[in-house]
Structure formats: C-alpha cells, structure tokens
C-alpha cells in the first residue's frame, strides 16, 4: 500500500529530493513484492490483519469446511452401516416365509415321522440362518446389538435364544448439531424382549428435599427461570440458577425473603408450602418473572395472594428414579411438627412406616415436676412412655409442713382434665374440713380450707374424693416432707401459694408422653429419651426439624434449644409399605428364580436384585417414570412373575397373574374355554360338589367370585376359598374343613369345556386334580397366563417345538405370529431404507454446500490473479519510470553549466 507524502511548498534541498526518491522506490518495490507474494501464494491476504473483516469471515468458513469434511465422513460411515443393515435384512423375510411354508406343510395333514423330523430340521436351520443375520458384524460393530455393539446380541443357550443387546440407538452427527441414529436394534427388528405385563402401578414416590427439580411433574421437570415472592410491599426475585433439588429451592427461598420478612417454605405431602411470618402482616404472592412459567411449574403461582396464611402449592408428582427410597413409595408416613418459640428446638415426629394406622397419635410433652412433690426429672434423664390404656391427668399439691403432700389424679383415662389448675383458697372458719369446687370456665379446681389452718390433709383428701372429679392420694415422693400423716394440718399460708396444674399429663390410649424439665431439657435430650423407649422409637422417629437454626451468632448445637410443653397429633399417613420380606418369583420356562428384597433400600436395589437373580430378564424404570418394569430376554420360554408368599410383586406392579388379568389373554391369547352350562366341577372336603359356570366371567376375579360366592359354597358347613396362589402364580383352592368325603378335587370330567385345563386347575389331558394329603387341603393350579418374548426367534423356536410335538393349535397360533414378525422386520427395513435415503440426500446437499463454502472462502482470501498480474505490470512500468526520473533528476546540476 503506497502512501502519498505531500510535497512541501518551500525550498527543496538535495537531501529532500534524495529521501523522497528513496521512499518512492521503496514503496514501489514493497508493492511489487506484495503482488508477487500474492501471485505466488494465491492468497490475497497473507496475515489476517491485512483485511480483518475478510479474515474474520474466513476463520468461520475454514472452521465450517473442516467440520463439514468430518460430517461428510460421518455420513459415509453411517451410510455404510445402514447399507450393511439393509442388505443383512435382505434375506430375512424370505427365511420367515420359508418357515411359514414348512409349518403349513407340517400342520395341514397327519404326516409321517421322517417328514416331521425333516420339517423340524428345516426350521432349525432357518433359526441358524436368522441367527447369522441377527448377529451380523460390520466394521467391528454388531449391527443389531443396540449400543452394546461389542458383543453378539443373540446368544443360543439351552435351546433358547437370549437377547443381550439393548434398545439404545447409536448416533452420529449428520449436520452440525444434529444427530441421526445409525443402527436398528435387535429389539426393533427381531424382537428380543417381552412386552410389559401385569398392571402398571404408579409407585408414586413422595417428594423429599433431595428430589431433583428435573424429576418433578412426572419427569417433565421445572424450567430454571425465576420467581418473584412478594409480601405486597417488598418483593424478592429468586432465580433457580444453581438450584438442583427441592431442598436447595426451599433454602434459597428462605434465605432470600422480601426484605425484612421471614418466609417459611416446607414440603408437605408432595406440595410446596410458603408462609409469611404473621407478625409483619402483608399479602404473600408468588408471581412469574417476565413471561416465565417457573412458579406455575412449581405449583406455587399465586398472583392474588394468601395474606399471612399458608400458600399450599399443587401436587408436584415426582417420578420414580433409581434413587427413590422404598420407604418413600406406595404411600406416605404420618407425621407431626412441634414448632416452639426460640431457636434450635423444633422437632418432627414421623412414623417409620406408611399408612393411616399411625395417624392420630398424640404426642405430649409433660412437665415432670408437676406430677409429684419431689423434683421432676433433671435435664438428661427425661423419659418417654406410651400408654396403651390411656392415662389420667395428674397434679401434685406440695403443702408446707410435713406429711401432707397430695397427688390429685383425674378420674378419666384421657386428656379431658388436662390443663386444669388446682388452687387453694380460704373457706373461712370451716374447721377441719375442705370444700372443693370446679370452675369449668377457668378450668380451675378450687379447694377451700379453714382460715385458721385447722383443715387436715385427710379432710382435703376426703373433700377431693367426695367431689369426684379427681382422686387424692398421699404423695410420699419428697423424702424431706416425711411420711404421710393424715392429721397433718394445711397451713393457711398455703392459700393462693400452693397450686397444682395437670398440664399435658393425661391422654387417651396410644398417647406418647415425653417427660421433661421445662427450660432445661433440650431438643437433643428429648430425642435421646425418645430413642430410649424402643417400643416408641420403632413406631415413630423424633428428629430435629433442621431449619430451626440457633439464633445468629450463637454457637449452640442444632438441637441445643430448650423444648416447650407442646402437644401434637400425627396425620397424613396413607398407603402401605412395600413388602420387602417375602420377595417375588420369576419364572422362565421351568426355572423359578426367587428374588429376595430384604435389606433393599432403593428402587435401584430392587432392579439390581432382579437383574442379579437371573440374566434372563431385564428390569428397568418404565419410560413414563411411574414405576418399574421387568421383561424377559429369553426367546422360547414362558415368562411370569409371581409372589413369594407376600404381596411384593403385586405392589410393584410386576405380577403377571392378577385378579384383574383378563381370561382372554390366557394361554397366549387363546383364552379360557367357556361352554354353555357347567364348565368344571369342584368337590369340597365334605363331598359337596360345586358346578362352576364361567358364562360372563371376564377376569380372574370373576372366576374366583364364581367359586367363592357359589350358592352351595356359602352355607354354614364351611367352604372352599379360591384365591391367587401365594407362591408363584395360578389359582389356589383351599378347604380348611375336615375331610368327610373323598377330599378336595377339581374335575373336568367328561365335560366338553376345557376351562379347567385352560385355567390351569387340572393338568392338561387329565380328568381331575386332587388335593394332596395334608391340612388344610389345597390345590394350586398352574399359571396359564405366562408371557413370552414377542419376536421372530421366539416364534420360530416355539414353531420348531410345536411341529415336533404335532401341536396343531400352537402351529396355527404361531403362523399368525410369523405374520406379525414379518411386518415388524419389513417395517424396520423400510425405516432403515428411509434413513439411508435421507443420508444420501444429506450427502448430496453437503457436497453442494462444500462447493459454496469453498467458493465463499476463496472470495475472501484468494487472490484475483488477473487483477494481481495487471497490477504487477502497471507497477513495473511505474517503477521503471520512477527509476529513469531518479537518474535524470540526479544528473542535472547547475554546476554542469558553470
């Protein structure tokens, strides 16, 4: 870039001429060098600063081109996988059609044994060929193994085929920021897993402080915006940045209330609650910030306001995660909160098990010192009692003088006489007598004594007992006071001085009394006392509320605050506990695996126990986030989950044979036979026969009802109970009455109906099933509602067996299945083809794009050769002229002419 220097208007000196010419020559040479450089490198800019704007654009273009080259390689690789998948699936449908033809041949007529064997062989070889397709490996990747692409997905094991792959797709980037799957899983194509069976149960975990915001709303989560909390005058904006769990949110809200206010945030039964401190008044509102939806998603959007009362949010329905505790599912625990003035002393009582049974239990803190004349418990020696029968209210009257202390005990075993004050008043000159009266308004029992001190302890006792509300008894607890002396006088000085109070000492059955020393006993000591009573501690946990921090600046321990004489009643318990003691049974073909859940703490433990029990099943969280599911990996075997003597499988929604199982699903969809009239007959221990007609029965429960409510089964002579098997699956019949006939049996007899077989009550092919000897008499039917893997391998394995067994009905069913499998394979193949096509399209587009990008880059940084060369020529001419001028200018001098 040549610079033009102005020529000065004044004198010209030789040095000036010289330096200007030199400058000019240098500029020309520099310019020529630059052009030469451009022409030889092909670049118009050597270093970015020559044209920062163009260079800036070039940086982006270069990066994009580099990325697109990688994308192009990705597409090539992806295409190669998809092409291999496509061609691998090429022969599969013809294989299945071949199997169909073989089966049809074997099913149509009675065929000779050798032909049958040939057919079985043929199906076997089709299975082998299908295995080879399904276990195809390409570029170190098993194409149908999902993301577990290092191992062959289908494995032959004891005549079955196990799917070891998963349902996860492998993806590559086919555009910057856009992923596409490059595989089809074995499950998608061939079917490797059974579908979920049983009644899906919403395990409904409760919300705890560690529940993540992203797990709320059934897994939809909460967007991390901001909410605005206001007391009507001042507001505070709370951002959810850095907030992960509900506990984090609560702490953030409480730490950032509207200026000068206190907001209490709690989790109450899957809801958030917020409350302003009552003292400051105002109107609590929760609003969105901008056009956010965070407050609404948290269920606490409240633009109108609730004053200083509690804002109760909506149910936030957390989803089940691996970390959900088993204690926190299927119901809630009863709880109560003991909130006292002062810091570090709030307590929570929480039941140790779910359910409503522990609702309504009273917990009362009792001032032990008021119960007798002796000093009450000292701090550190508190104790807890739970009364099964109920306890009467009690108060001590410690009169001055000796041998006259009394204990007054209420006559009712409940809390009706709690908080009754007992006062000593003057009765005038009444001699050795006392008058007792009760003031219901003031809840005060007044004992009037002689004004001269003539009233004796015995007179007071008699008067109290005579009044009937309390009974008085001597109190010898205080050793200083000496032994009880009925004649001991009550000094008149005790009037208005000595008094008693029943406080919280009385309570109905089940009430838990915590005996404390007010002002001295700390929350931590109360907890220690609580845990000192194992019977109480096993029902309820008493713990610190946690947020009731000690007053600022104090270094007290978190439970160091003194407790108050509070009472609380537990509430909110619902649902039931998961049966963790019995476990469940998984049946795969003839093998039963028992899963023991004892000691399991979390949902993850349950899944691990199930997956650990057998590698034939896959237990995972159901995709809707409500519960868990267990699916079979084994093609060719029946699959069922039953109980192991308890209710675990049903509670977890895993049992495959339940009361609501439809009969139409029995026997792999063939259902249960139902003929007009009697379908099967039961004979009771006493010989009474029950004819069972299944007309109109839809579910297992209907069958059970038909038996249990049979008119002949509800008489006084005892009856058969039909129920679901306690171990495994099936219908179980129990008769507890003594055997007087031939014993309990189920008879298909000569009836045309095959219902007894189809329900599994009588082994197929037999006429009757009889209860084995033993008491009580019991017949457990077999499980005819087992599931299976729905896929080509299962169909073919079963077909092979059906052809070998000559079981025409099964062959017929499986021929239908093959069509479904064919559809699935063809559908998958079409999907792969469509993806291939899409990738082809992307590739073409990418090639075009690359051309555009390169030309754009070239425009920015490449040199225009024509221009550069002509510039060069022009420059050369100018330089030549400049040199000539220099020569001539320097040659001329006046001296030449002197």
């Amino acid at each position: 870039m040549a610079t033009i220097y102005p020529v000065s208007a004044g004198r010209v000196s030789n040095m000036l001429t010289h330096s200007r010419l030199l400058l000019q020559m240098q500029a020309d040479e520099r310019e020529m060098l630059r052009l030469q450089d451009q022409i030889s490198t092909g670049r118009s800019i050597g270093v970015p600063s020559q044209d920062p704007r163009a260079a800036g654009r070039a940086f982006v273009l270069q990066r994009t081109i580099e990325q697109k080259l990688q994308i192009s390689a990705n597409i090539d690789v992806s295409l190669s996988y998809l092409t291999a998948t496509d061609s691998g699936l090429g022969g599969v449908s013809s294989l299945l059609n071949e199997a169909k033809a073989v089966a049809l041949g074997a099913a149509s007529t009675v065929i000779p044994d050798d032909e049958r064997r040939a057919a079985v062989e043929q199906i076997g070889s089709i299975i082998d060929q299908l295995m080879r397709s399904a276990n195809q490996e390409f570029r170190d990747r098993f194409l149908f193994a999902g993301s577990l692409s290092e191992n062959a997905p289908f494995l032959t094991k004891d005549g079955t085929i196990v799917y070891r792959g998963n349902e996860t797709s492998l993806s590559s980037f086919i555009e910057i920021g856009s992923l596409a799957a490059t595989n089809a899983t074995g499950q998608e194509v061939f079917g490797g897993l059974s579908s979920q069976r049983g009644v899906a149960v919403d395990l409904d975990p409760i919300m705890t402080s560690s529940t993540k915001l992203s797990d709320l709303r059934g897994g939809l989560g909460v967007r991390k915006g901001s909410i605005e909390i206001s007391d009507g005058a001042r507001n505070s904006v709370i951002s959810l940045d850095g907030v992960e769990s509900v506990g984090d949110l609560i702490r953030k809200i409480e730490a950032n209330p509207p200026a000068g206010r206190k907001v209490t945030a709690l989790i109450e039964h899957d809801r958030l609650t917020l409350q302003l401190d009552a003292a400051g008044g105002g109107n609590l509102t929760v609003r969105e910030v901008g056009s956010g939806t965070t407050a609404a998603e948290l269920g606490i959007h409240q633009p109108v306001g609730v004053g200083t009362s509690k804002l109760v949010g909506s149910d936030l329905d957390p989803k089940v995660t691996l970390h959900s505790r088993l204690n926190d599912i299927l119901g809630t625990r009863a709880s109560a909160r003991l909130t006292a003035a002062g810091g570090a002393n709030d307590l929570i009582i929480e039941a140790r098990s779910n359910g409503a049974a522990l609702n309504g239990v009273n917990v009362q803190f009792v001032d032990d010192g008021r119960l007798q004349a002796a000093a009450g418990v000292s701090a550190g020696s508190e104790y807890v009692v739970q009364s099964s029968t109920g306890r009467a209210a009690q108060a001590s009257l410690a009169f001055s003088g000796s041998g006259n202390d009394l204990i007054l005990t209420g006559t009712a075993l409940d809390g009706s006489l709690n908080d009754v004050k007992i006062e000593i008043v003057s009765g005038g000159a009444i001699g050795d007598a006392a008058n007792v009266s009760y003031d219901a308004t003031a809840r005060t029992l007044r004992i009037a004594i002689d004004a001269t001190g003539a009233t004796t302890a015995q007179a007071v006792t008699d008067a109290v007992n005579g009044h009937g509300m309390f009974t008085a008894a001597p109190d010898a607890s205080d050793p200083v006071n000496g032994a009880y002396d009925p004649a001991s006088n009550i000094s008149f000085a005790d009037v208005a001085v000595v008094e008693g109070n029943t406080g919280n000492s009385g309570g109905g059955p089940g009430t838990i009394f915590v005996h404390v020393r007010p002002g001295a006993t700390t929350a931590s000591q109360a907890i220690a006392a609580w845990n000192g009573n194992p019977a109480v501690a096993s029902q309820f946990e008493l713990r610190l509320e946690g947020k009731d921090a000690p007053p600022s600046g104090s270094l007290e321990d978190p439970g160091g605050g003194a407790v108050s004489l509070l009472t609380a009643t537990t509430a909110g318990g619902t649902g039931e506990n998961l049966d963790r003691t019995s476990g469940l049974q998984i049946r795969l073909g003839d093998q039963t695996h028992t899963v023991d859940l004892s000691g399991a703490q979390t949902v993850q433990d349950v899944l691990n126990r199930i997956n650990g029990a057998t590698d034939g099943v896959l237990a995972d969280l159901s995709p809707d986030g409500a519960g868990i599911r267990v699916r079979s990996r084994v093609s060719g075997l029946d699959f069922a989950i039953g109980e192991n003597g308890g209710t675990t499988a049903t509670q977890l929604g895993l049992r495959t044979f339940t009361a609501s199982s439809p009969l139409s699903g029995f026997n792999k969809g063939s259902g249960v036979d139902n003929q007009p009239g009697t379908d099967f007959t039961l004979e009771r221990n006493d010989g009474v026969r029950l004819e069972i007609d299944l007309d109109g029965a839809v579910t297992v429960q209907d069958v059970l009802d038909r038996i249990n409510s049979h008119p002949a089964n509800v008489d006084a002579g005892g009856y058969i109970t039909a129920r679901l098997a306690q171990f495994g699956n099936g219908i179980e019949l129990v008769d507890t009455t003594p055997v007087t006939g031939t014993g309990l049996s189920v008879q298909k007899g000569n009836l045309t109906s095959q219902a007894a077989w189809d329900l599994g009550l009588v082994p197929r092919g037999q006429a009757a099933a009889t209860a084995p000897t033993g008491s009580p008499a019991q017949i457990t039917g077999s499980d005819q509602n087992a599931g299976e893997v729905e896929g080509a391998f299962n169909t073919l394995l079963r077909l092979k067996k059906a052809v070998a067994d000559g079981s025409l009905g099964e062959i017929e069913r499986l021929l239908e299945r093959i069509n479904v499998d064919l559809d699935q394979i063809n559908f998958s193949r079409a999907a792969v083809g469509a993806r291939e096509q899409a990738l082809d399209l992307y590739k073409t587009r990418l090639e075009d794009e690359e051309v555009h990008l390169r030309s754009a880059l070239s425009l920015e940084i490449d040199v225009d050769l024509t221009k550069a060369i002509s510039d060069m020529l022009a420059k050369q001419a100018a330089y030549q002229a400049s040199l000539q001028m220099t020569g001539q200018t320097f040659k001329m001098s006046l001296l030449d002419y002197l």
Partner: protein
Amino acid sequence: MSLTGTLQIAHNALIANQVGLQVVGNNLANANTPDYVRQEPVFTPAPAQRQGGLLLGLGVQVTAVVQKIDLFLEERLRGSTSDVSGSEIEETAFRELESILGELSDTDLSTQLTSFFNSLHDVLNEPSSAATRNLVVLQGDTLAQSIRQTYDRVLAVKEDFNNRIGQTATDINRLTSSIAKLNKQIVTVEGGSINPSDAVGLRDERLRALRQLSELVGIKSVEQENGSVTVFVNGEFLVAEGQSREIVAEPRNRQSDPRLELLFKDTNSPITLLGGEAAGLIAARDTHLGGFLDRLDTFTKDLVFEFNKVHAGGQGLAGYSQTTSEFAVANVKAPLDAAGLPFTPENGSFTVLVKNKQTGIVEETKIPVRLQGFDDDTTLESLVADLNAVNGVSATITPDRKLKLVADSSDAEFSFGPDSSGALAALGINTFFSGSGALDVKIRAEVKGNPSLVAASQGGAGKDTKTAELLAGLYERKLVSRDGASLADGYQRLLADVTQQSANVIAVADGFRTFKFTLQGQKLGQSGVNVDEEAVNMMQYQHAFQANAKLIQTISELLDLLVSI
C-alpha cells in the same frame, strides 16, 4: 577619506566573500550529511565613519554564521519520531503474534481445535473401536501441545520485549549524558549569548542526540538563552544545562512480577512514558502480548473446564479401581467453591457408579454437592464422608489435600455419572484434560496411558455413546455457563480481536509515518543543502570577490600614479 581606507574596505570585502565561499564550501561538503543543518553567513555593512560633514560606509563585515533551522519544527519532528518508533514496536509485536498464530493456514490452532472435536465424531462412528479413542487422545494431545507452544512462544516474545526495556534505559542514559556534555561545550564555545554565531557541529551533534533520544522516549526540549537545551519527560526534567538524570529499569517485583519498568534513579519514582520505543515496548508487552496471553489462558481454561465437566460425568470402556484428584484444595474444611481450586464448582450433584465385575450389576449413588452459601456447604471433608457412604468405594484425603478414591475389592470398579455441579471437573477426577490454563494444559496421564478411559458413555461403562455425543457437539454448543456463547465463539472472538487490534496498530503506525515524513520533508526543505543554490551563492561571492579585487587593482593603479608624480 583616503585611498588606503578604500583599500581597507576592499580588503574587508575580500575576506567577507572568502568567508561566504567557505560557508558554501562547508554546505556543499555536508550536502549528504544526515542531520546537517545548512549554514548561512550574516553580512552586515560596517559602521559609518564621520569625515567632516560626511558619513562614509566602511564596507562589509561578516557578523555571524548561523544555522538555518526551525526549532519549532524540530520539536514537532521529535514528537512525531517518538510516535513512529513507539507504534512501530507495537506493530512488530502484532506481526510476531500473527506469525506465531499462523491463522488461515492448515496448521493453526483453530484447525487443531476442529480436528480434536472431529476426532470425537469418529468415536460416535465406531464406538467400540479402541483406535478411535486413541485418536481422540492423540488429537487432544496435539491440541494441548499447540496451545502450550503458542503460549510459550508468545511468552518468549513478551520476555524479549521486557529485556529490551532494560536496554532502552542504558541507551537513554548514554544519550542524556551526551546531551548534557554538549550543552556545556556549546555554552562554552558560543560564549553564552555574546557570540551570535552558532556552534556548528556541536549543535548538529546535539540535534542528532535529541532525535535519537526521542526515538526511545517521548520528550520535550526547550532551548535556553545561553544555548543549552533542557529536556523533559512528561514534565520531569531529564537534562538541564550540564546535568542529566540517570534512569534505571527495575522489575515491578523481584519475586513475583519480572516486568521491568523505568524509574528515575535519584527519586526511585516511575516515569510516565508518552511515546517512543519504551512506551511501545511496555504497551506491546502488557496490553498486546500480555492481553493475548491472558485471553488465550481464559479460553483454554473455559475449554478445559467445559470439556472436563461433560467428560467427568461419563464412563469409558472400563471403570477405575482407584484414582486421585488432580487438584488439591487449600483447606479441606472450606466449601468447595472457596477451597482454592482452579475451577469453581456450583450447587448440584454427581453420581458414583460401582460395578461388581463378577455379576455386572451397577449400583448408582447420588452425591449432593451443596454450594448455596450455608453452613453445611460441601467441603472436601464432607465429600469424603459422603463418598465413604457409597458401597464399594473408600475415599480418603491424601497428605497433600487431594481426594483419593479406591475400590474396596478387586471385584469392584467405579465410574462417575452426570455431574451437574462441576465438582468432579473442578477437583480433577475422571477428567480428560489436566492443568488449568494455557501454560500447563495436557491430557490427563491416566487417560493418555489408557485411552479406554475416554468417556463416551452415560449409562454405564461401554454402554452407549451419549457422553461422546455431548462432547462432539460441545465446541459449537451455546453454553449457559458462558452467557450463551459457544467455545467456538470464544476462540473466534479471540482471533478477531487480535486481527482487528493488529490492523488498527498498523494503520496508526502508517499514519504516524506519513506525518513524520511530511515533517521531515519540511525540515529537509528548510535545513537541507541545495547544491544549485550553493552554486549560485558561490558565483555571487566569486563575482563580489572579483569586483573587490578590481577595486584593489584600481586603487593600486591610483597609488602608482601618485607615487610616480
């Protein structure tokens, strides 16, 4: 009036014209001497002589020989020289920087960055291949090395510039003492203001010294009546009469900050530099090179932390039987975000996965990282306690305050799941990059030795490629933690700023150069020797000499006539 008087006039004229010719000769001789200032004799008529009623002139006399110089122009030229030399230094710094970066080529850092992230695409293409993971490690290593090299090379340039500041001080001292010496000589030779002639030669020399000084540092110079110049730097005098103040270059802090700065030796106070090489060196060192180093370091830090945050929450093809955190905390009882870690974790959680190698069953435990500014915020100690509650893993704090995790049995191995807190990355556990900036970024030795630890999976060791998907897209992803900018944006901005600043500095330098040449042109026009002009002068003196010689001849003839009477 006498003939002898006239003879005397002619004699004087001859001498004057001889002086004229001598000045012409001197000018012609120095026609090509740089910094030479053209001279001019000053002719004045000699005082008149009263003779009777007449006042007769006594001819000519040369009263002085003066330099043709515009001192104001000189001063402006010196200012401009300072500007040019300062900005040329800055220009050099950027040229070096740009050549080190080598952008727009195929070997630049941006290509290395893209290649590294591209290598992760290959993991997605062939997840089970060990070779692709190895490639990620190799590309990562190349990237880390390139970043370190770039940093080191720029740092070397920066140090070189720093050393030159030391050299500048020596040069300034040499020039100021020479100016002080010349001041004394000029005053002596010119005899103060008594002698109207300029101390030619000495003044030229002083001019040259002043010009050289102005190249090093921006100065103001004022000529005093006695002919000496006083030189100021930002109002503080550097040279006065025969005195000069010594300047020293001292590091800002001998232990921690080796950056040299210029100080007056006598008062130990720093000099505020307003131009010249010294100011250019400091600007180039601190603002341009130092600024670039800081930004490269910040970018690297972002890259390392963002990448590690994702990587730490993923699993490789195998788990760990033991691992130790890379970074130590300063205080094991301090919350992790205030424990002196190079990266800052935030409130969140991560998961630890313990796998039984016999059964293949994985147990996942969530570890909360509480960092909300409350008393129970997670510290290294509490983290260790939480980790020890995990079945199958034991955590300890090493004597050098690092976190160590060991699997409880040889049948167990552990790995880590999604980390929303960044605590794993901040501590340096299950990370890909080690180091915390451009100076020390490397591939973590554990990963380098065992590329199967490159985390591609999110659902368990070797189970899927979800982490690789996140990592491959990381460079272009808009990050909430970086205010919605991607790492690519960050590097792009870094480059654009260097380029733009470089272009600006070059444009400014060009402007200064043009201005300087313009001033120089004016100066040369005024003070430079024009040979033709001198030839004209020469002829003029020659003719005057001839005429006076003729006068002498005439007088001589007249005297002869008188003698011969």
